[in-house]
């Protein structure tokens, strides 16, 4: 036996060595799949290591104390925590009281805090005048520099601590991500939105000082947008921020082992107002995140490996088909069918072992190269480690998948009839006996489920009715296997005349019972059976679909597919029939037309494609999975961001918003004067002031009733000459500068109402029923004296949507002239500014104190960044799937070229130049690429169009990303061509005599 195994191994190695090119492509297929899986799992391990690193530093203390919910945010907590805490925990006095309490109960403890800037856009944007750089939506951390953080030290790149850098209230320390965007250097002067003083940059600290999952959402956003530190003494330069109003407290305990007890006691103070996070909580949370990351990478890695598996099936099929004569000879010499199967299986296993090894190395390499993407996703730096567990995992699974996928073709090898050796001209690809192939296929599903189960663990346990579904599937498989085996036995008995039947009938019943029961038990034990079954069904459907599409695109004849059409008798396939007809008929008609009218090379290329429909279908499968995922993500991202940009500009009425930190009528005047003086730099502008007040009376004209109401509301007054919001009106009209700059004869000012609340997106009373002509009376409050002035408005327009825009949260706007003599609560301006004039305008606006210009494209950048962050990892995974698919395609092309060496030889023998043969082969493969692109990109395009239709009610034209769709199609063609060129180039250069003599 050992002698035979040694022979199998030697023979397999010989075969792999002799057929170098074929071996190389097959190994790359396996390696790509394993590499995708190993790289994703290695990234997962890196993420886990980071999450479970220093918990005290990640938590910023043994205990982190913060308000319970958004309603208990700083400023809302006014009651005491306990008698000993005279004030709220989140005020300066509260912090001091907390320190006292901890000193008494846990001696040696340190309490510090962090506070946010408050008020509209305070500290949200930074501008360095001397460099003209600006960054918006940045994150601020106001800290007590001598105590923050309580664990570890924050150090700048120059080695200075926060305490050393933040000496004066105007000192600022930047995160590296913000410093890079601002091109900031230590010593630069920096202006923050809403601040009455400029700051000096004293140091730059690494981004991961605050970014990442540590510090909860703050850290995440800090990593995303950039952040800076100020000492809490800087609060004096910001109007709306109360000194010492903390958002979070951090406690270092004298004895960290008492963290759970301390947490319990602190939480007991005020159950509904505060919540705490201890290092214990963080450990548990991180364990959950780790598990989720693990699950995600396992599933995605498995997909890549399955794509690689397609390559294995192709390779083994070709290996077997090209060696039918050799197999027949072996069988003639007395090698049993099972031994032939084993021989080829050993070869597949060797390929799995070698390919898996390459894949592990490649996976580590990929993990190292794609570390940045995972860092972007997490907002946290990761340390690369060539982790062993993912490598072993990927390796074992890779070899297993290779074995499993290689098994069916090798089973076919065992079925080759030895008589073939006498008639080699009749050599055809051996078909495994249909019944035994079916049994083997079911067995494959079971084995694959076992592998998948090992990877997925308890991931599927939460699927409803899983305990019933998978045993039922197992029973179905068991029955099918038993019936196939019984049928095979009956056929065999009939062939071999005169054998007894009775004993066999008993064995059939036993087989049926055992396999049915066994199937139920397997289903019970392996929930992954559900996933693998679904995957097989989906892949099976896709295979049939792609096969038919290739047939249709090549303008194939009906007789080539009629056995396949019988499959459509299965009721499960009936829903597909209309889809097939809609897709296939036009494609087929086009294919037939092309066959008639196109030049001969094109027709030969199409016939080449038609001749290898099976392999073409698997190639498409590999290509489409990758390109579909990639295109869905990229096109969706592009559409969302461009739609958001449009909406933002329309709602704001301009592409730049100027904020001011000192709202007053004087600011309105100064701002308007300044903008007027810089008219040359602007395409248009409008000053907008927000006024607070109460809606006191509402007259519903259509119902002819008065409603007494007392509702807090804010209303915008704006210049009408330009930059009005571009809204969709359901009734009435927008404001008109020609007639709306004064009250009408009855003393009513015109007002436009947007019906939905900007936060809840709901239309609440009285806006749920607002109509043109309705009359509103506002008691508008002057922000300096608090005096209320009644102003009456008549609704002239009702628009869709919510009124939230960059400067205000009001849903009403009226002419600014209506508010004469009333001090506003907020002053801003919207402008249209050519990009080239922005820098000059910023410098000019510095003359108006407290102003800050924000381009709406920065808001868009914000959305882009968030979208990028959340899509970076899926894009990476899709790209890895495509990467694997690329190798599968290369393998397919190499195999089909190898099979067609004789055909190529004949073409050259009848006088075709090498270039022409090369052109035809490349044309054939680019056709495959085009079809793959059309399917993959096309499906995502349709999905996107449907989504947009429901989101934007038909305004699709300018939102569909045609450019990206075309680019992705191009990517498909390029991948196909690149994958093809190596093998096609060599094959087309072969001397015809060689191929004709030896093939």
């Amino acid at each position: 036996m050992i002698d035979r195994v040694v022979f199998f191994i030697t023979h397999s190695f010989n075969d792999l060595r002799v057929n170098k090119q074929r071996t190389l492509f097959a190994l790359l297929c396996i390696a790509a799949g394993v590499a995708a899986m190993v790289s994703l799992q290695t990234l997962g391990v890196m993420i886990n290591d980071t999450l479970t690193g220093s918990l005290q530093e990640s938590n910023r203390g043994d205990l982190r104390i913060h308000p319970e919910s958004e309603y208990a945010w700083p400023g809302f907590i006014e009651s005491d925590l306990e008698d000993s805490f005279a004030e709220s925990a989140f005020t300066r006095r509260g912090v001091a009281a907390m320190q006292t309490w901890f000193d008494e109960n846990y001696p040696g403890s340190v309490v510090t805090y962090r506070q946010p800037l408050e008020g509209a856009f305070a500290g949200w944007s930074a501008f360095i005048p001397e460099r003209g750089t600006v960054k918006s939506f940045i994150w601020n951390f106001l800290i007590e520099a001598d105590t923050y953080p309580v664990y570890g030290k924050v150090r700048s790149f120059d080695g200075l601590t926060l305490n050393e850098m933040l000496q004066a209230p105007t000192d600022i320390v930047l995160g590296e991500n913000l410093a890079e965007d601002l091109e900031a250097q230590v010593g630069d002067t920096l202006r923050l939105s809403g601040a009455s003083q400029d700051f000096t940059v004293r140091g730059i600290v690494p981004t991961d000082t605050e970014s990442g999952f540590r510090n909860s959402a703050d850290g995440f956003l800090a990593g995303l947008f950039g952040f800076y530190y100020l000492d809490v003494s800087a609060v004096q330069f910001f109007e709306d921020t109360t000194p010492g109003q903390a958002s979070e407290l951090y406690v270092r305990l004298g004895d960290p082992s008492k963290v759970d007890e301390a947490q319990e006691r602190v939480e007991a103070f005020k159950r509904n107002a505060i919540s705490t996070d201890s290092t214990t909580d963080l450990r548990e949370q991180n364990a959950v995140i780790s598990d989720q990351v693990d699950d995600m990478v396992v599933i995605m890695g498995l997909v890549s490996l399955l794509i690689g598996g397609i390559g294995i099936v192709n390779t083994m099929l070709v290996i077997v088909s090209r060696r039918t004569t050799e197999i027949a000879v072996l069988k003639t010499l007395g090698v049993q069918p099972g031994e032939v199967t084993l021989l080829f299986l050993v070869e597949a296993i060797i390929m799995g072992i070698l390919g898996g090894f390459l894949g592990v190395l490649g996976g580590w390499g990929l993990a190292y190269l794609t570390k940045g993407v995972a860092e972007n996703f997490l907002g946290q730096s990761l340390v690369f480690t060539p982790a062993i567990a993912p490598a072993v995992n990927g390796y074992v699974v890779g070899v297993a998948i290779t074995m499993i996928f290689g098994f069916l073709p090798t089973l076919a090898a065992g079925q080759v009839r030895p008589a073939l050796v006498l008639r080699p001209s009749e050599a055809i690809i051996p078909q495994a006996g249909r019944l035994s192939a079916f049994v083997a296929l079911v067995a494959l599903i079971l084995v694959l489920s076992l592998v998948a189960q090992g990877l997925l663990g308890d991931l599927l346990d939460d699927v409803p009715y899983i305990d019933t579904i998978t045993p039922a599937i197992g029973v179905v498989y068991g029955v099918l296997m038993a019936l196939a085996l019984i049928a095979a036995d009956i056929i065999d008995r009939r062939k071999r005349r005169g054998r007894p039947w009775l004993g066999h009938a008993v064995s059939w019943l036993v087989t049926l019972a055992v396999l049915t029961g066994g199937g139920a038990l397997v289903g019970q034990a392996i929930p992954a059976l559900l996933l693998v079954t679904i995957a097989f069904v989906v892949v099976g459907y896709l295979y049939v679909l792609f096969w038919l599409i290739i047939w249709a695109a090549g303008g194939g004849r009906f007789r080539e597919i009629w056995p396949g059409v019988l499959v459509l008798l299965l009721p499960a396939l009936w829903p597909l029939i209309p889809v097939l007809i809609v897709i296939l008929l036009p494609v087929w008609a086009l294919g037939r037309l092309i066959q008639r009218v196109m030049f001969v090379d094109f027709r030969i290329a199409m016939r080449g494609m038609l001749a290898t429909k099976g392999r073409g279908a698997t190639t498409l499968l590999a290509l489409v999975i990758g390109i579909f995922t990639l295109s869905v993500i990229t096109m969706l991202v592009d559409t969302i961001t461009s739609a958001f940009e449009d909406l933002l500009n329309d709602a704001a009425g301009g592409d730049v918003v100027v904020f001011t930190s000192m709202p007053s009528t004087e600011t309105i005047t100064r701002l308007r004067d300044k903008l007027e003086s810089e008219r040359d730099l602007l395409d248009g502008y409008a000053v907008i002031a927000s006024f607070d007040g109460n809606l006191s009376d509402y007259r519903d004209v259509s119902q002819n009733r008065n409603i007494n109401i007392r509702m807090y509301e804010s209303i915008d007054g704006r210049d009408l000459d330009s930059n009005l919001p571009k809204l969709t009106f359901t009734q009435g009209r927008n404001l008109d500068p020609a007639r709306d700059n004064e009250a009408d004869t009855e003393g009513y000012w015109p007002v436009v109402v947007q019906t939905k609340d900007p936060y809840s997106e709901e239309s609440l009373f009285p806006y749920d029923d607002v109509e043109v002509g309705d009359i509103m009376t506002f008691q508008v409050q002057s922000s300096d004296t608090g005096r209320r002035t009644p102003v009456m408005f008549k609704v002239v327009g009702v628009a869709e949507g919510a009124g939230l825009w960059a400067g205000s949260d009001s849903r009403l706007y009226a002419p600014l002239a209506a508010f004469e003599g009333i001090e506003p609560s907020n002053v801003a301006a919207v402008l249209d500014v050519p990009k080239s004039n922005m820098r000059e305008l910023r410098v000019s606006l510095m003359d108006v104190p407290g102003t800050f210009a924000l381009e709406t494209r920065y808001l868009n950048d914000l959305v882009n960044q968030i979208v990028d962050q959340f899509t970076s990892f899926p894009i990476l995974v899709a790209a890895l799937a495509l990467f694997t698919g690329g190798f599968v395609i290369a393998n397919s092309v190499a195999l089909s070229t190898m099979e067609r060496r004789r055909e190529i030889g004949v073409m050259k023998a009848v006088g075709l130049q090498r270039e022409r043969v090369l052109g035809m082969l490349l044309l054939e493969h680019s056709l495959t690429g085009i079809i793959g692109g059309l399917i993959g990109v096309g499906i995502s395009f349709v999905i996107l169009a449907l989504m947009l239709y429901y989101m934007f009610q038909g305004e699709l034209g300018d939102r569909l990303p045609y450019g990206i769709a075309l680019t992705l199609m191009g990517v498909c063609v390029v991948i196909s061509l690149v994958a093809a060129i190596a093998s096609v180039w060599t094959a087309s250069g072969e001397k015809p005599l060689n191929t004709l003599r030896y093939e």
């Binding site: 002698d3 022979f7 023979h11 010989n14 000879v329």
Partner: protein
Amino acid sequence: MSTNGQYVVQTVDVSKDLALGQVMVHALRGVTLNVKAGEFLGVIGPSGSGKSTLLGLIGGLDTPTTGQVFIDGEDITNLTERELTRIRNEKIGFVFQFFNLVPTLTALQNVALPIRFARHRKFDPTGRAMELLTLLEVDDRANHRPNQLSGGQQQRVAIARALANNPPLLMCDEPTGNLDTVSGALVMQALHDVNEEMGTTIIMVTHDMDIASQAHRVISLVDGRIADDIDPRSAAQMTAMNLLREERGLE
């Protein structure tokens, strides 16, 4: 049906129908043939006469549509694929026109192959292989792969491989058909040596009457039936055969 122990091969009213596309071809029609132990039988006939089909049936590569085939007294007609494989390994050696050596194995490994897969191993694979290669005078090429050997050398290696398990029957399908005259003569000499020295029964299918005439007995197949059964050493029978050859357009 009883068998006679002196026959290594017996076919009884054997027929074989083959499906070629939509058409059913009667490749053999009721062939009854007895081959004695130690006999050297030549089978001739034009293309499509059923030579290879007969070879396949006797060699256990295929099963007859009707009739029975006995090898060494054992009815192989209804044997399973597994049992047939064992028969081929132990009782039959094959030599093909295109040599059909396994291209990735050396001459020595090729010859040792049937011994390695024998259910009851009678020989040491390497020792026996070397012994046979020496017998066939290709031992100096033992560690070369098929593509490094001449046609004649390849065929002698193939004969050595066929003899590996010392089978009582050697089936040769056009053994000189792909060789030049000198190599062909060497191969025929080797077959004669094997037949005489080892007592191996040989059935050789060929187109070449000169090659066939070196056998002890020649049968000619026409349209799936045995048309003639002669002793080539008889001058009268050979003259009659040559006349028939010309008439039927044989080489």
